[in-house]
């Protein structure tokens, strides 16, 4: 018989539990839907950046009739100012009027005047103005016999000096990366936490848990469930983050792809920390319920904490140095959302990052056994909600 083949130690049993929870949920439709939803949201954000014009300076089409120097000068000046100006030579006034009407040019330079559609953009107007002044001054200087050398000296730009300083924080690109990061982290922590709670309630409500606990220890069941669901969440995050980076690179949405990779690593790291902190709480909450309908009630406190952390972190996008945000980034329950935002925005000094890490790791180490105790005390009690105090005592 198979008795001889039966292994006698129960080490690694949690791995079987983890594997089941991973595969069962991977095959669920809600997993597929949430993955696709994440990708769609990311795509919208990335594409909006790539084609919304936020990443580059403005660009204009400028037509000219007659000699080109004024238009060409506008192009050169535009380059200095970060404005792209494309020039189009037009044969005559008729063609110019036509080009203005169909929108292929924003303005047309005639030798001595500018024609624009309805109103002239001040940026473009300023460029043409400056270019035209330069052309007239050059002509004047020519007439007065000023040499090319003298003119070049007079036109030489001011020397530029630089000082050593960290890059300016709060750049708009970083803010958008931070926004995506906090949305992803919130969705992932909350969504997968709920899955842990649901998984626990399912086992309790179907009563299979009594059979399971006659075979394995509660800690193994709990650890397996958290690890299995956590790895699924991590995998989804990696897939979505990779997708976002590739999309950003392909569309040129981000100037510095390295910052996106760094942000992705940050999100993944803080997901692991945050999930480790929250998952056992979700499991304990699930164990306190006895029917799936009670899920919403038992997770209300955790739900609120995550939601408040989320809103503080969204606020941090505007003001990453604020006192509330700083405190939130150091508390274990809000750090997984607030700290990554501050790091991406360059607002967190290294010592605060280290402190935050120490606090969340330390409190997880304290919290997990306590949550596990509640779980163990409540998991076999059926018939209505279990009170926290009873669960705590039952597991003594």
């Amino acid at each position: 018989m198979s008795d001889a083949a039966t292994r006698t130690t129960d080490r690694g049993t949690w791995l079987l539990v983890a594997r089941r929870d991973f595969w069962v949920r991977l095959r669920e439709r809600s997993f597929l839907i949430s993955t696709l939803l994440n990708m769609v949201v990311i795509s919208i954000l990335v594409l909006a950046r790539a084609y919304g014009g936020a990443g580059q300076g403005p660009s204009f089409d400028l037509g000219y009739v007659g000699p080109p120097p004024v238009a060409d000068g506008a192009v050169a000046l535009g380059q200095h100012a970060g404005v792209t100006v494309h020039v189009h030579e037009l044969p005559d006034e008729m063609a110019a009027a036509q080009a203005l009407r169909d929108g292929s040019v924003d303005a047309v330079v005639f030798g001595d005047r500018i024609v624009a559609r309805s109103s002239l953009d001040p940026t473009l107007g300023g460029l043409i103005e400056a270019s035209s002044r330069q052309v007239r001054i050059d002509a004047l200087l020519d007439r007065h016999g000023v040499t090319a050398q003298e003119r070049a000296d007079a036109n030489a730009g001011l020397p530029v000096q630089t000082i050593e300083a960290p890059p300016p924080p709060h750049r708009s690109e970083n803010a958008e990366v931070a926004f995506v990061a906090v949305i992803l982290l919130y969705g992932q922590l909350f969504g997968y936490g709920i899955w842990v709670a649901t998984g626990v309630i399912e086992e309790k409500a179907s009563r299979v848990v009594e059979l399971l606990l006659s075979a394995i220890r509660p800690k193994q069941l709990l650890a397996g469930k958290i690890v299995g669901i956590g790895i699924l969440g991590l995998g989804q995050l990696i897939v979505v983050a990779t997708f976002a980076i590739v999309l950003a690179l392909v569309t040129g949405a981000l100037d510095v792809p390295l910052s996106a990779v760094g942000a992705a690593a940050l999100v993944i790291g803080w997901f692991i920390l945050g999930f480790a902190f929250y998952a056992s709480l979700f499991a304990a909450a699930g164990a306190l319920a006895s029917r799936p309908e009670e899920l919403q009630n038992v997770i209300v406190p955790i739900n609120l904490i995550i939601l408040v952390s989320f809103f503080i972190s969204i606020g941090a996008l505007q003001n990453p140095d604020g006192r509330l945000v700083t405190i939130a980034s150091l508390l274990p329950m809000s750090a997984p959302l607030a700290m990554p935002v501050r790091i991406v925005l360059g607002a967190a000094p290294w010592w605060q990052v280290l402190l935050s890490l120490a606090v969340i790791v330390g409190s997880t180490v304290v919290l997990v056994p306590a949550a596990a105790r509640l779980y163990i005390g409540a998991i076999l009690r059926s018939g209505g909600r279990v009170r926290i105090r009873d669960a705590w005592r039952a597991a003594a």
């Binding site: 018989m1 198979s2 008795d3 083949a5 039966t6 292994r7 006698t8 130690t9 129960d10 049993t13 079987l16 539990v17 089941r20 069962v24 399912e202 086992e203 179907s206 009563r207 299979v208 848990v209 009594e210 059979l211 399971l212 606990l213 006659s214 075979a215 394995i216 220890r217 076999l380 059926s382």
Partner: protein, 297 residues
């Protein structure tokens, strides 16, 4: 052999187990009977480690039971339940592997059990799609799939149709006789217990009131009853024998209770002197009668 030694457990002010002890030898089927709330389920849960005892000890093959030993136990809880959305065979294989059975062995056994237990349904079907009776058979398969050395079944026959009862009875007998499994199950169907079990443990208020084989229980019973039917006998003809008194008068026959001093043969002689003896013999009480007697007394 499973040994439960002086198990104690309280729930608040309620004493569920009050020094309960009994044994289940390997290869034997032991029936565990008692009224509702007498402590049967608590005993089984403690045996499986699902519940902690306040005091006492559970031993298997002479050694204290720990998590590793319990992996070789099979259990059917009173409150049935498996994963509703998991497929039958996948579920059985998973449960067997949790208890350390290798994957391929578990798969073979799962398929075999689904056949033996005559579970109607595709092994790929989901649990929730089965009828209740079929779910119960799968539940039994779940307790057997890892080839346990000890089977602990809480009310395994409740909810089964007569065919299901026969199938389950057959499986339990085979597990005990052929594989040498120690089997203990609780039941309120005392005729089944009587038919199936080598020994019976009768529990009340968290203690074992009496235990032994059915024959031993009968021998131990307090009352010694005899049924006598004599045609044309006079009233109170038995009063000549000391230690005999009337228990019950039915039409044409009497049930007599004899104390230790009374000799049944003397009663028979007397009866023959009275008239035609149509029936004479000891009353073999059913387990149900014994049960009522012990619990009431």
């Amino acid at each position: 052999m499973l040994q439960l030694i002086d198990l104690r457990r309280r729930f608040g002010d309620v004493v569920a187990l009050d020094g309960l002890s009994f044994e289940v030898p390997e290869g034997r089927i032991v029936g565990f009977v008692g009224r509702n709330g007498s402590g049967k389920t608590t005993t089984m849960r403690i045996t499986l480690g699902v519940l902690q005892a306040d005091g006492g000890e559970v031993r298997w093959r002479g050694a204290p039971v720990d998590a590793a030993v319990r992996r070789r136990f099979g259990y059917m809880p009173e409150e049935r339940g498996l994963y509703p959305k998991m497929r039958l065979r996948e579920q059985l294989v998973y449960l067997a592997r949790l208890r350390g059975t290798p994957k391929d062995v578990a798969r073979d056994r799962a398929s075999e059990l689904l056949q033996v237990l005559e579970v109607i349904g595709d092994p790929q079907a989901r649990m929730e799609s089965l009828s209740l009776g079929n779910q119960q058979r799968v539940q039994l398969a779940a307790s057997l799939v890892h080839a346990p050395e000890l089977l602990v079944l809480d009310e395994p026959f409740s909810g089964l149709d007569p065919v299901g009862v026969d199938v389950l009875a057959g499986v339990l007998s085979r597990e005990a006789r052929e594989r040498g499994v120690a089997v203990v199950f609780s039941s309120h169907q005392l005729d089944l217990v009587e038919r199936l079990c080598d020994a019976v443990v009768l529990v009340d208020h968290g203690r074992v009131v009496t235990s032994g084989t059915i024959e031993e229980l009968r021998a131990m019973r307090a009352r010694n009853l005899w049924r006598v039917e004599v045609a044309g006998a006079g009233a109170e003809w038995w009063s000549a024998v000391p230690g005999v008194r009337l228990d019950e008068h039915r039409d044409g026959e009497v049930i007599l209770e004899l104390d230790d001093a009374a000799d049944p043969q003397r009663v028979l002689d007397l009866a023959r002197a009275e008239g035609d003896v149509r029936a004479f013999g000891p009353i073999e009480p059913t387990l149900a009668q014994l049960f009522r007697e012990v619990v009431a007394g």
